[in-house]
Structures are given as C-alpha cells and as structure tokens.
Symmetry: C4
Subunit: 202 residues, 4 copies
C-alpha cells in the first residue's frame, strides 16, 4: 500500500479532531446572570482550544514530514499509525478537562497531568513508528543512517519528556503547567523547519 491513502484518512482525522475542539467551548447560559462575565470566565476554554488546535496542527505537519520519508506502508506501520490517530482523536477530551478544571478552579493538576500524558503518548506512538522504521528500512525511500534514527528518536523523547515535566509542574503550580504547554507548542513549530532543512541538504 502506498502512503497516499494513509495520508487521506490521517488528514481527515487531524482536521476533524482540531475542528471538534470548538465543542468544548460552551456557549454562556442566558438564564444565568451576567453573560459578559460568563464569557470572560471562559478564558481557559479559549486558551486550551487554541493550544490544542496548534498542537494538532504541528503534529499533523510532523506526520506529513514522516510520511514523505516513507515509500510504502505495511501492516505493522498501518497499525502504529492508527494508534497515533487514536491519540489524536482523543485530544478533545483532556483539552475539555483542562478547560473545565481551570474554570472551576479545582482539579487543575489532575487535568494538566491527563493532558501531558496524552501528549507524551503521542510521542510514544511516534517513537514506536521510528523504531519500527529503523528495523524495516525497506519501507523507507532512503535508508536512515544510525545517526538520523537516533536524532529523530531523541527529539521525540525530548518532546514527550517536556510534556510530562510540564504536567508534573502542575502539582506545584497549575498556571505554570499551562504556560509550559503553550511554550512547548510554540517551540515545536521549530523542528519542522529543521527537518525541512535536513531534507533539503540530503
């Protein structure tokens, strides 16, 4: 199987998961007092919507860069890709949890940990894909060097570690944890360009 179809299905899941995030941003109740205040108090819903949308967008870009390196998809790779998509499709849940927790002012740490764990799980799925490709180089357009594999895997591990660290920080300060998630999302716009540069020089 070529990568085209895997791309079409994956693209759909990425775009839908991102757009469904809006369902976590609840409309104010017009029967319950001050609508303006309700709208202001919903800031965690707006912020988590934006973070998760960016995050899905960035993972989507990385996913595409990955597929560009792959010549064909076998059963194992298809299964690992489905696993990654299962996590992508799950993003709206911890996103909604973080929004609710910060709006309620309770359980913020629990919510941040759930969010960080899902992001780390995505990293784990990418890691399994890299490991699988390292052992099945016939699926690649150009075999990786050992250095490249190590670099890809280290970058993925670093991302997951950053998410878990940011999640753990929530035990001390939920606000700092949230800020951490924002910073990681913004930082991860970066590796894309690097991967691009590498692809260009190869």
């Amino acid at each position: 199987m070529t990568t085209d179809r895997t791309e079409a299905f994956s693209d759909g899941v990425f775009a839908i998961a991102a757009t469904l995030l809006i369902l976590n941003v609840h409309l104010p109740s017009f029967d319950q007092g001050d609508v303006g205040r309700q709208l202001l108090n919903s800031w965690p819903a707006y912020l988590t919507y934006a973070i998760s949308f960016l995050q899905i967008g960035i993972v989507w870009v990385n996913h595409h860069h990955l597929l560009e390196l792959i010549g064909r998809v076998d059963r194992g790779l298809m299964f690992l890709n489905l696993l990654l998509l299962v996590f992508i499709g799950f993003v709206p849940f911890p996103t909604g949890l973080v929004a609710l927790a910060f709006q309620a002012g309770r359980y913020e740490s629990l919510a941040c940990i759930a969010y960080g764990v899902l992001m780390a799980a995505m990293g784990a799925a990418f890691l399994m894909i890299w490991a699988y490709l390292a052992r099945h180089s016939d699926l690649l357009k150009h075999a990786f060097s050992d250095g490249q594999i190590r670099q890809f895997m280290l970058r993925t591990i670093a991302g997951s570690a950053a998410y878990l660290t940011s999640a753990a920080i929530s035990i001390v300060s939920p606000a700092a944890s949230l800020a951490g998630f924002v910073l990681i999302a913004l930082y991860y716009v970066r590796p894309v360009a690097e991967l691009e540069a590498e692809a260009a020089t190869r």
Copy 2:
C-alpha cells in the same frame, strides 16, 4: 463513474465517524464529587472509543483494498457502498451504548449484542458487494477466479460470525464479550497483509 469520487466521499465518512467517537467520552461533572474517581470509572468509554476507532480504521483499509480491485462504479455498486457507509456512520451509537452499559453496570449484554449486530451488518454489506462484483465482473480491473470470490466471501462471513458469536457470549459474560471484540479487532489487522500478499503474487 471512476472509483476516485467514491473514495473521496467514503474516506470522509470513515475519518469523521472515527473522530466523532470522542463525543461518547463524556467529561466528568465538576459538581458531582470526586473527579478523579469519575475519570477512572469512565474506562469503558476509553476502551470502546479505542476499539471502535481501530475497527473503523481496519474496515477503511479493507474498503480501500476492495476499491483497488475495482475499475469503475455503477449504480448498484454505489448504492451498496452507500449502505456500507450508513453502517460506518452508525458506529458511534452502539459504541456509546456499550460504554454507558458497562459504566452503569446494567444492560451490558443488550449493548454488546447491538454492537455485534452492527459489525455483522457491515460484514453483510461487504458480502453483498462481493456478490454483486461476482455477477458484474466488468466492473473489476481483473476478473476474479471462482476460488478468489469464495475466499473473499468466506473471510467476510467468518468475521461477521465472530462478531455475532462474541455478541452472544455477552449473555453469559459481558466482560468476555468485550474482550472478544478487542481480539477480533486486533486479529482483523491481519487479513490486510494477506490481501496485500495476494495482490503482489497475482
């Protein structure tokens, strides 16, 4: 009509049905006691989300392998394909039912039967497609041998039978039925590779 357009519409339905499954995973109520416990008690929602997502992913792969064998689509085939998509789009309903039943600890058997019957209905739609193709070989890129048709149909019947058996087991043990659905989903990652191997040797 070529298969391209059937693919585009079908791909959309598959990806959306899979991603909509997350709407069955309800956020905990922050007004009702222990949010941590609520999150743990929602395990059936997480598990059924993952099973159904994988299942839709696998049917999607099989659907694509099927379309690869087809040269053009006529009115009858289009109608049978729409029937299959009607079932795919319906997956979130019994998935939500199984999640609710296992969370409530009631009606698990009824929910498992509803789930198994829908999965068997998908098998039936595939079976009708194979039967239709057997009688309209002009739609195929390469005519099937009688042995191939028989093999495709047997495999599809076996899958539906496995789902119905697993559903029936729920009368004795709902947990065993759920485990059966997981096993079938994992097993069905397999035929894809076989189909691929066959396609390669042809």
Copy 3:
C-alpha cells in the same frame, strides 16, 4: 477557478453532513426504566438517519455528475454552489425534527413539511445552477442542447415536486409521508445511471 477545489470543499461538506446525522440518534437514558424499550422506541431516529444519509449520498453523486460537465467555476456558480451546500449542511436539523416528532407522536406533519421543504430547496438550488449554466455555456466543457437543459431542469423540478407532495401527504397521514420520503430516496438512485448512460452515448 477549476472545479477541483469546489469539489474538495463540497465533498467535505457532504461527508460531514451525512456523518453528523448520527448525533440525532440519542443514546437511551440508563436512569429511565427499560433501556430495551427505549431502543425500540427510537426507530424513527434510525429510519430518518438512514433516509437522510442515503439522500445526502445521492445528492452528492448528482453533484459530482454536474461538476463533471463543468469546465470552470465563476463567481456566480460558486455562490450558487455555496447555497446548495448551505442546504446540505442543514439536513441534520429537519432530520432530527422528524425523528423527534415520530418518537413523541406529535407534530409529525409539521416535521415532514420542514423536511420536504428543505429537500425541495435543494432542488431549487440545483435548478438555479442549471439555469445559470444555460445562460453561461462558456463554463461548460460541452454546450448543452436546449433539450438537455430542459430534461435536466424537468428532472430536478419533478424531484422537488415529489418531495413537496410527500410532505403535503403528511397532513393526512404522517406515516405515508415518511414512506414517500423513503421511496423518493430509493427512486433517486436511478437518475444517476441514466445520466451516466447519457454521458456515455454523447
């Protein structure tokens, strides 16, 4: 603008509108008595889901046949196509209304009329597209004969008239109206094949 992009956006709207229909099929309440009976009483939701999914699928096929005849898209055509998509995206609303009305056993006629009017409005949008194409034949790959235009428009008018008639019947018998919608959906699988035959003989 070529038709490719109009197709991509339209395909997305068709597939999403069809798959969102499942949100009108509500899960039973496990706190309110007999779940089995609730599931049986939801038959109008299952039936209207299936009818509307098929209907959207059929309109999608006709939409594609239409785009196949068109060489390029101008501002007017784009606007009329958007109008058609506005109606397609609206299908879940009257579909849910019909399901609720038949489940409640009240306002069935009102719901059937809303459903029929939306379907007729889709026909009107198609009609406006045909009329626009008749006056802007430079957008077509091959100019239509007057006979063809008349035939396309008559077929579209006939479909809308059938929906309005079926809707009106609901005043006497809501069940007959619902049966009419099923019959029209099944009948309209047909013109596709005819259009195909025409395209082949041209």
Copy 4:
C-alpha cells in the same frame, strides 16, 4: 513543503467548521408547548447559520486564491496559516452566541461585537500572511509588485474595518448590525471574481 498538504488540512478545517454550524441550530423541545412557534422563534439560528456558512465558504475561496499564488510553504507561513485556521474553527462559537442573543432578546450587542471581532481577527491573520509574503517573496510563484501587495492588504483591512464597524453599530441597533454582516458576506463574494480577473490578465 509544497502547498498541497496545507491545502488538504485547511480544506478539511473549512468544511468541518462550516458543517458544525448546524449544531448551533437546536431542535425544539417537544415537552415545552408550541413546537411550531419554537421553530419560528429560532429564526436567528437559521439566519446566523446561513451567514456564517457563506462567510466560511467565501474565506475558503480567498484562501485558495492565496495558495495559488504561493509556490512553497515555510515554517512562518505554516504558523500563520494555522493561526487563520484557529479563527476559522472558532466561528461556530460567536455564531451560536449571536443566535442565542437574538433569540433571548438580550446581549445582542455583545454577541455582535464578539462576531465582528472574530471576523476582523481573520482579516488580521490574512494581513499577517500578506505582510509575511511581502518580506519572503521567494515563497511566491511570481513576486508581487508593491502595488499588488498594497491592494491586497488594503482590501483585507477594508473587510476587517467593515466587520468592526458593523459590530459597533450593534450598540445603536443590533438588527442593523446583523443586516450589516449579511451585506458584508454578500459583498465579499465579489473580490474573488476580481482576483480571478487579475490573475487572468497577468
């Protein structure tokens, strides 16, 4: 990275955001009195559904025209495009707010301002994209003249200004503000054709 992938993901987000708008059109409650009256009173939901759907459709067309001018996508452009998509995916929220406010007959001005600000934010995202392209002409297929850049930016600023003005009018008359949004949406079908004409004469 070529523009193909940016297009696929963007198209998905546009189509899904438009189709999700239907979730703001709530079905009447069959337990609360006159369903017919409830349906009539929901006119703001129907109207805002149609306006926002058209609006997303028009932005989608402009987005495509933009991508046609671009040869390749770098990290900065990808980020700005994601920002635009974050706003597109957010459209259902203020749309639902306007519908609720006009149905409740309260907070209409607040809702109109929220709607206008989001539309202006989309314009700002487009503006940032134009400004980025002006400084990175290597991403373009054909370098813009200074006149063209100025024209594109002026048109985008004019659109945002029109939305903010229409939003501000809501303080005096919410109905006039809503009418303004309809007019802007209808007017903005126009620039597309002009852009097309320009592209043709180049």
